[in-house]
Symmetry: C2
Subunit: 79 residues, 2 copies
Amino acid sequence: MKISVTVTLKKDVLDPQGKVVKQTLKNLGYENIEDVRQGKFFEIELNENDQVKAKKIIEEISKKLLTNTVIEDYSINYK
Amino acid sequence: MKISVTVTLKKDVLDPQGKVVKQTLKNLGYENIEDVRQGKFFEIELNENDQVKAKKIIEEISKKLLTNTVIEDYSINYK
């Protein structure tokens, strides 16, 4: 089972990486870029066919390891 | 218009970050993790209402700046 987790900075947290990408795009002539936020993406292959169990594991992993829940949010995408 | 771009390493490219996450999860007791691949995620806010133009811009940006097309793939998600 393939599951992807996207981790993004919370809305009010400053995102210096995103700011650099935005500024670079402006310098390249893309004037209509309003904002860029950068995050992390994980694709996890799980050896578990029970969807409920898989969901529980991925939720746990996301909170424990993949996300710093003080400043980041995560969203899980089951394929 | 909000558009997200996910950049992942190509299938045959070694992913040391993903390997570390996988090993850490194994050490934490998650035995049924088969594989972890890590990538980047960009959320772009574009001041462009014409969907065709927006698509063109995002494709360009993805190829020029966000992705190293030698070793990475990208996928675009229009919301």
